[in-house]
Symmetry: C2
């Protein structure tokens, strides 16, 4: 299914969220939040609204997104709990693991807290970039790119 952006803009929020709610894994709230920004001029504008919403979240919210995202190389794949989109991406994109696991399970020896905080911020930023790349792929699989814009 590939809708054009005019079709997307005409969707009531229930359908908008049903169809696009998992472009950020298990975070339909993000899709539901940007719905207010219709009409979107292009797929790129919709994607930009999602990216801006993510960037405006507190750091804990960004970590929350990462913790909702399956670690592609890890436990979630083994337990079979990945969504359809993640299976397709893992099969098709060769994209690396998100390391949300290592984010959550860092050691906590005294004296290295500062370094760990820095490492955590770097991992968080890297993870969020991966989330945005996956969001881009998912949007492209759902909405026609408008080359005029």
């Amino acid at each position: 299914m590939n809708m054009d952006i005019a079709t997307v803009n005409a969707l009531p929020y229930e359908d908008f969220v049903d169809i696009l709610g998992n472009v950020v894994e298990k975070c339909p709230m993000i899709t539901a939040a940007v719905w207010s920004g219709r009409p979107f001029l292009s797929l790129a504008a919709l994607e930009a609204a999602i990216r801006e919403f993510i960037d405006a979240l507190p750091e804990s919210g960004k970590e929350g997104i990462l913790r909702c995202h399956p670690d592609l190389a890890g436990r979630d794949l083994q337990s079979g709990s990945l969504t359809r989109e993640s299976h397709e991406e893992q099969a098709g994109s060769g994209m690396g693991a998100l390391n949300s696991g290592s984010l959550a399970h860092g050691p906590a020896q005294p004296g290295v807290q500062g370094a760990l905080r820095n490492e955590r911020a770097v991992e968080r930023a890297r993870g969020i970039e991966e989330v945005k790349k996956i969001c881009h792929l998912r949007l492209q699989s759902l909405v026609l790119t408008d080359n005029r814009l």
Copy 2:
């Protein structure tokens, strides 16, 4: 199932999100975000962390939460898409509808935009209060209240 707060605090984030991820409907990201705040001294402290996270969201994020929440009296119930928790609450609590539908579908005549904006803000605030009440009920059904705190 009713865990005590010590058990909750000992959960890895995957289990924390699996068990508590729907205390705000379809928003496991919120639960995943507050996981960083462990250890929680009490169920009330966990609930407060969730409420604070919601309050810190941009208004669009609050609207996103409401759009993810079934309108208890409306379309979602008729289509049978409510989660187990919502069915139990509707059966048991007598709580009113969230009006997320009317939030999204307000008319847009010229000259009444200011009034509509105010009405929308009031509805959003009222809806978020309902979400918090539901979150309270869901937490109480999952985590033992510690009367000492």
